[in-house]
Symmetry: C2
Subunit: 139 residues, 2 copies
Amino acid sequence: MSCLLCDTPGGTVLWQDGFCRVVRADEPDYPGFLRVILNAHIKEMTDLSAADQAALMRVVLAVEAALREVMAPDKINLASLGNVVPHLHWHVIPRFTDDPHFPNPVWGAKQRSTPHAAPPDLDALLRAALYSQGVGRGS
Amino acid sequence: MSCLLCDTPGGTVLWQDGFCRVVRADEPDYPGFLRVILNAHIKEMTDLSAADQAALMRVVLAVEAALREVMAPDKINLASLGNVVPHLHWHVIPRFTDDPHFPNPVWGAKQRSTPHAAPPDLDALLRAALYSQGVGRGS
């Protein structure tokens, strides 16, 4: 069966290993919108072993830490939904009080039209921050 | 400073200990919409120690397992947003293809008006399932 996250990276790959990958989503309203995508086609967190659940959350939270380091958002939003693409992935979204939907979720009603500015070398900064956060080094 | 989740339980308490609580939200469109709320007023997951992050996720995923056991949803949605109430809490939402927003997030555009039916003794079933999932017993 065809699956978008089996067939494509799902964004600009910032880091990957044999278990999962971190991509920057193509979301013009949210320049720092990252996703952590499990490589295997698995639907729910509770379909993973406890060890794999913990390993995936360590990556999700390293991504949260990297985004805080690089972008200093007013809030981090974390979500694993998968209603449309039931292949386990986490949205890690830096939110700013002046971003297009704040304080609504990014899936809610839009409040304004201008994205919060991001550094021009965002990918390089995020890659360096992910490395400094120890993504993929285990714990 | 006043905080809704410091000042009130935030829903019908199904389980609690000194660290966090599991509540059923008052969401008529989503009878099985549960929340895991940290007792302490802390904003982000990465403000917690690694041990506390893991402990909170164990409860979140035990709630996911309990909801799957009791309601057999088509999908589970997990989210920690906190843009309006920046006190760490997780939404654990059983989703059904015939629920009011599917396949949109519950914060997106509504698709239909009738909630997916839930068992009349939902709270008792969820409390029993949380117990059988070992919520709060550590691991």
